[in-house]
Point group: D2
């Protein structure tokens, strides 16, 4: 149930509603948006609608009909801005996250961090804990990798996003990482999602290759139900009969998710297509479709990468792509890149 | 086999190669591109490579390894421009084709034609022969519909694209239509493709919901093998587990096809997503991905359309979309819209 | 609308209902089943329910809610038996159709016909008109192939099923063939379906690789709407992300179709899996799932077949499979094979 | 690398090979099969082939080319029998596992256990830890549920299979459960697989809705790489464009897996189709396709089940199905049911 309050309610009014709901056996979630306070009550079916409606400051009580509640537009009409320090995902600025598939060593990470930061990325990506289909593939540098990422990111003014596969990864990841990534294979690892719901850290939740839109939003709901509302959704390709590309990028997920949820939506074109020269067209298309950001694999020397080199952009390709994406962002009234986006005077062809 | 000739070969040289190949039992295809002449020999496995290589003007003989030959980039490296009068599909200009799902009457078609022409469309779409899943659904106005389309298009300076389902449709369609559309359900109707291969009319070939990229190019090859090289490919969504959208737009088909073939590639976002408010984001994304054009359902009164109204744009929505698409086209160094595209001075935000 | 008549109505009663419906603008379909007469009226929305209900012999008027009407169980509760001479598809006996992918010559067809007839097949399959993805693949022997099939089938007491791709194939096919097959690529070739609806010949309608159950039944409805009720449905694999098998056999289509329609359902495991050693397990499973028959590729020398040899059973494999299938059929209370099925006394292991 | 030893090698010979391999940096896996000893060395690429080949008792060294090694038929040609007390999965007997989706209480579990045991099931299934798409759905009784299962199973002579979602579930599950199930959502939860690899407990590994055959076998490899070779594979439906059934049962996975691996393969038709009346046909088909067993949802009162009642068989339906399956098993030379399978004398119709 969504409980709408009059504009700028007093804290006392809010607390009274909260107390009433708690005492009736409901858990209460609260989001504050530009002078508006949204309350969501989750619990028993026979909601005491009359009693709550009579409380001072309450203007309306609405049933949220979707299976996901806190994640739904029905609950919260305005877009969520997930702040990572001074970087905001989901606002007017389109955010680029870039870096290698896997952290291989300090030199590699530094060179890539410098390159992507100069080109306009705001967040450094890189895998330290690597989920691999085969037990015999390279499994990542672990905590050592996280430290390398942190140091390089700090040097070049970047935030860090990195994958956690497991509850045991949360403690070190919280120390070194700004955004905790849940990989496609763990999108319904409910134990992990429950643990993340108790943290005060942004979570980047990747859709799995056969996850429906509703399942993805229910997985986001797991994280939000525990009180962590800082969820960023990410489409990275679904499994279809297509064999030419690694997966099939479902770009229509962007407008569909924007309709159903207030959470930010970013795209990972690298994993979706799996072929270097197909990444840039799909990255541009993602911005044009309305994505709030991109997460891209970039490597200073893709041909010698330990993992997924064939789908990594070179630093030069990334620089060109950034300029194109910035110009497309402008068409949609958004910005991207250094100093709050490309200077509009340079936006002509 | 691809036979490459020296730059600007004499017609006599070309004819001698042709004669030799024909007498050895091969069919010979010829494309002329900016001073370059490409010859393709199709036939028996034991190609007389030595004898042909020795002919004057022949510089190189290359095996085309793909299953499709004439459609492949291996045969022809430069992009094919399909000219429809003064409208060129596959060149620098991005072409918009727009109109109703089905022709319903003269007034409807005129109002839509006027609107889409003003907004920048170059081609009018509209179904006169309608393939419908159920025998009890509206099956189109037939030849009467084609006449209505032609008249409206002529009034507003548009070309006409319309679907043919059958050999019996070809004669009237050739009289009234500029581009013959093969629908998704007929992408492997080889009888129809063979008949189209003998015409001198551009063909818009739609990918089916489960057609692989290679199958689509082999269907194009059917049309080209008979001598009709004017084929425009169209992606319109594939079938996946997604249920929120009507189909799943496989936008990565654009860069994949651009890699494999020299034929133009356009996108039909209306059928792909099937929901009005998702069409514009996917249309913009298509341009950003490098599509050569769009085919869109537009209706002056979508809610009373006889067919697919829920996925048709209003004329107002189409006008806004056209401007956005024109600006994105500029980012890619292309043009779109009235008078060869948006004036670049107005391209800022 | 389904109009139910009292048991054993007089012909006059039936004709009066028919006349009333025709004069009200409806087309009227009639099926006679063991003393029961079913009438279906198709036409305008405002059905004259009251007037018809009052006619002598009419007991009930029921709305058929599915998009397919004549094909639905709602219209006809009892199973349709499609008789092909003395062979009945859809009855207690499970029918095997077997033969080569393509007719290659008289000797080949004779050897295979003899083998499959001895093993228990009742129908000979073989392609004379071959739809091929590439224009450069073997396209079949055409009418000559049909004659070869007919002769071999007559020699060994078999019926013939063969594919038609086109209206121009219907005339010769009707002369030489007992069951006209519509291939997966033509499942929504409505021109072809309409032409078949006017014939008095059984039609084997194959589901396409991305055809939904509802679309398949609507395609059957196209054939039935013209008055040809002898439709046999065939599942032959759908397209999924699986790459190990050629397609993914959707065996649950058998119970699903049995629920929705009274038409017989057979399975083509050869095209579904595309690998010889996977065919027999899937054939056995099809019988166990309740299929009314199988259509199988069998070749006396698969390794030298011109088409699809890798998925053809040898004659020896077919003989073993027939015995296994006959035993499984017995478990379901059905028969299969020579003289109305395996002797039940030999059915133990 | 597979190291083959002469028949009945001495323990000393085996140990010497093992020592050599360990000292060269390899991990060594050993399986003993009817007098044959199989050794598998996993580790660095430059295998000391010459040195090992010279050791006494070594007859052949073969490279295992698949990405999965211990799970491959290349490593072990004969079928693995997973023994659960006196119940053997993967042998001549087809094993039925049956029970409710979720454990709801003692009475429910007892009634179902009694019914399925009488009908011929050997293993009781039931969820105590329930992975649910929505955080607001019933999540299971936890350890209490495991105790209820254990007690009921012991009373009626059954083994127990139940799902673990998490490392924290392993300790209680090992105490009360005979086979640990990994659900479809956790098929690539590598942390969980690694933990299971260190246990001496059979694992039932379910394929996910978009898991390829190779990925499934690599997930099995994770469990085997740690030394736990008791893995049972389970197909439970994949995601396709079909909407009529919950998932699409990929029954061809049975012959495909039997070709690639020596591990037992069972089928879960209940989750695959999701509709009660479709379960029995698919269960019969599974046996006919060669499955080693079934895991089925059975409930004494499906309409009041807390979870998945619409796909649960009644006890009566389960009894009928068991008899049919036993008869089909006999056709394949296998047994099923009470006292080592149906009495063959009663197998006639």
């Amino acid at each position: 149930m969504k409980i709408s309050m009059a504009p700028r309610p007093t804290e006392e009014q809010i607390q009274e509603v909260r107390r009433k709901l708690l005492s009736a056996g409901y858990s209460v979630h609260r989001m504050d948006r530009e002078g508006e306070t949204l309350l969501c009550a989750l619990g028993p079916a026979d909601f005491p609608e009359e009693a709550i409606r009579r409380l001072p400051g309450v203007t309306e009580i609405t049933k949220i009909t979707k299976s996901f509640k806190l994640a739904s537009r029905q609950f919260c009409a305005s877009d969520t801005h997930v702040a990572v320090g001074d970087v905001v995902v989901g606002g007017r600025e389109v955010i680029l996250m870039a870096g290698p598939c896997a952290v291989e060593g300090e030199d590699q990470v530094n060179r890539i961090a410098e390159g992507v930061a100069q080109a306009g990325a705001k967040v450094m990506r890189g895998g330290a804990f690597k989920p691999r289909s085969s037990p015999y593939s390279f499994q990542g540098l672990g905590v050592e990798g996280l430290k390398i990422l942190r140091k390089a990111a700090d040097t070049f003014g970047l935030k860090v996003v990195s994958e956690v596969m497991d509850i045991s990864h949360l403690e070190p990841a919280c120390r070194y990482v700004d955004i905790l990534q849940v990989g496609a294979r763990n999108v319904q690892n409910f134990t992990l999602l429950n643990a993340l719901s108790l943290l005060d850290k942004p979570v980047l939740l990747k859709r799995g290759p056969a996850t429906t839109i509703e399942e993805l939003l229910n997985s986001a709901e797991y994280i939000m139900a525990g009180g962590n509302y800082k969820v960023i959704l990410c489409e990275r390709g679904i499994r279809t009969f297509n064999t030419y590309t690694r997966n099939t990028l479902d770009l229509s997920a962007v407008p569909v998710l924007k309709e159903l949820t207030h959470l930010p939506v970013i795209i990972d074109p690298s994993h979706a297509v799996g072929i270097r020269k197909m990444v840039a067209p799909m990255a541009r298309a993602s911005i044009a479709a309305g994505a709030d950001g991109l997460i891209l694999e970039v490597h200073h020397d893709p041909d010698s990468a330990l993992c997924d080199g064939q789908q990594s952009l070179t630093l030069d390709q990334f620089r060109v792509l950034t300029v194109e994406c910035a110009r497309i962002a402008l068409v949609l009234g958004r910005t991207l890149g250094p100093e709050g986006g490309l200077d509009t005077k340079k936006a002509g062809p």
